[in-house]
Each structure stands twice: as structure tokens, then as C-alpha cells.
Symmetry: C2
Subunit: 149 residues, 2 copies
Amino acid sequence: MRPTKPTKPTTASSVLSEAELLERHGVLPSAQRLAIAQYVLRTDEHPSADQVFAKVKRALPMVSRATVYNTLNLFVDKGLLRAHVLAEGKVVFDPNLAPHHHFIDEETGAIHDVPWSALAVSNVDALEGFDVHEYQVVLRGKLKKARST
Amino acid sequence: MRPTKPTKPTTASSVLSEAELLERHGVLPSAQRLAIAQYVLRTDEHPSADQVFAKVKRALPMVSRATVYNTLNLFVDKGLLRAHVLAEGKVVFDPNLAPHHHFIDEETGAIHDVPWSALAVSNVDALEGFDVHEYQVVLRGKLKKARST
DNA sequence: TCTCGGTTTAGACTCAGTCTAACCCACGTG
DNA sequence: CACGTGGGTTAGACTGAGTCTAAACCGAGA
Ligand SMILES: [Mn+2]
Ligand SMILES: [Mn+2]
Ligand SMILES: [Zn+2]
Ligand SMILES: [Zn+2]
């Protein structure tokens, strides 16, 4: 492995190429990893592993299910992705590394990001007996239909 | 199956015997359902289905795994229990029907209730585009050890 | 006693996720 | 060049939570 430049705080939403992003996080690039990165590090769909698999197969038909799982878990370990469990039997992957909340559409199951600044949770630090490392608000409901104009 | 008296109500919703609770929710009582109810409607452990199965087998060794799953799902459908998905591959059951938050001990996986009144989330109603039916704060961290007098 | 509907049961089945062991392939070495 | 080495990739076996099926069970009437 060649020497890497001093690492900057790399959030996945920057404008780096996937190859650079991977290298900055100590992940050796490969055709499969780049194809997976290209989708999963830029999506806002909160896809499951099998959704990633389906999407990536279009660009790289020979990719295997095992590689998709291996790569997603590797990205999580290396801090490129976060995994969330918000519904039964479905781990979803999220390239948005900044703290934020999640809204789950009860009709479709779709997951939407809610900006950290859109809500405020008070009194977390004062909770008796709990040393809180991280938290988020998980909201469920329907999307408001009122849309245009 | 002998008639029970409401002798030791330990949780909020349980001034009633299990049989009465079940009937009030339109669930026909049976030995299996009563044994399951006796544990799962009074615990604060947030057990998984297989934890319930293990516990109930002690009181009723012939009970089957299918019955435990059937009964837990029935209780959820009838509003006696809530199911939560807070970690991978583990649906947990919660007899605490009042709104509350959850703290997850990252070291043990144990789930602790956080009273609704202990936290306040502001601005939920003003969220653009989302019609929120319910929400909770999910917190993760370590239990504080300091327990001095 | 017989019938009937709901309940329980063992075991088959599904599906997400993990594991294994073979295979591939770029690279470095003699 | 051959060769070895060390990832990375792959198909398929495997695991474990949860569901489904079809038969057995059971209790309240007729
Ligand atoms: Mn994982
Ligand atoms: Mn369920
Ligand atoms: Zn997100
Ligand atoms: Zn709870």
C-alpha cells in the first residue's frame, strides 16, 4: 500500500472520487468495492443489503451476494457507512455520518432523514444512571400529501 | 388454571388478573396464554420471543415454540403488548404501553425504559412534510457505575 | 356421546445474514 | 518468465429468527 496523505475528516458527502474516499479510510479499491461505493455512499434511500446487491448487479452483473455483504460490513467497520435497525429483519445502510434523526413512513416503510437541527431533545445529559453515547429520535407516521404550490 | 386472585399487582396495568386482562382484550384464555401472559405482561426485561419461550417452559414444559410466537403476536395485535426492533435480529416485547423512550446498554444489549417525562423533544409537530403518529428517543451508551449512597 | 370451533403442536419452510474453502489475480522475486 | 504470496471474490453450505401447515387436541354445547 502506498503512503497516504494526511487524513482529513472525510464525510462521505464530499466531492471526492470513490477511490479516494476508500483509500482515505484504509480500504483497498477493487472493481466491486468501487461499484458498491458508487451507489451506497451517495444514496439517501437507506437501502438494505439486498437492495444494494440488486442495484450493483446492474453495473457489475457478476458480483456476488457475499461480496456485497463483505463490503458493506467493511465500510461500516472503516467508518464509511452506518448501519441502522429500524424495522424487523431489515438492516439498512446510511452514508450520512452526521448525527440525524429518522422518520419511517408507516405505509411504505421508506426511511427519511430528519436533520439534527430540526428537533431538539432536552435533558439527555441529566439522565440518571445512563451515560449516553449517542441518541436519535425515531419517528413513525405518514407523509403529508400537501405537496406543490 | 385455577382461579387467581389479584393478589400482587406489580405493574401499572395489572390490578387485574391475567385472565381478566386477556378477556378484556378479546383474547380467550388458555393455560398456555395465561402462563405466557403471567411473565410477559409483567416483565420489564424487554424479552425476545425465545427468552419468553425459555421462561415459560419452566412453568409449562410442554409449551411449543409456535404457541409462544402465536401468542406474542396475538397479544400485540390485541393491544396487550408492543413489539420493538432496537437491535439486529431481535424483536423484543414490551408490556409498557405508555409512551416512553429506550436506553440500550451497548455493553450488554440490555434495554431500559426511560420515562416519557425524563426527556422532551421539541418541534415534532412543526416538522415539514411529516405527519408524525408516534416517536421515541433511542439512546445508546453505558450504564453509569457510580452508585454511592 | 358426538360435533364443532378454536388452540396447540412438531416440523417444514423462508429469508437475512454468516461462514467456508476454493478460486482468481496483481504483484514481487529469483 | 515460473513461482509464491496475500488479498479479494465467489458459490454454496450453514445458522437462527420467524412463519406456515396440517394434524392432533380440547372444551363447550347439542
Ligand atoms: Mn453486520
Ligand atoms: Mn411478528
Ligand atoms: Zn439516515
Ligand atoms: Zn419499554
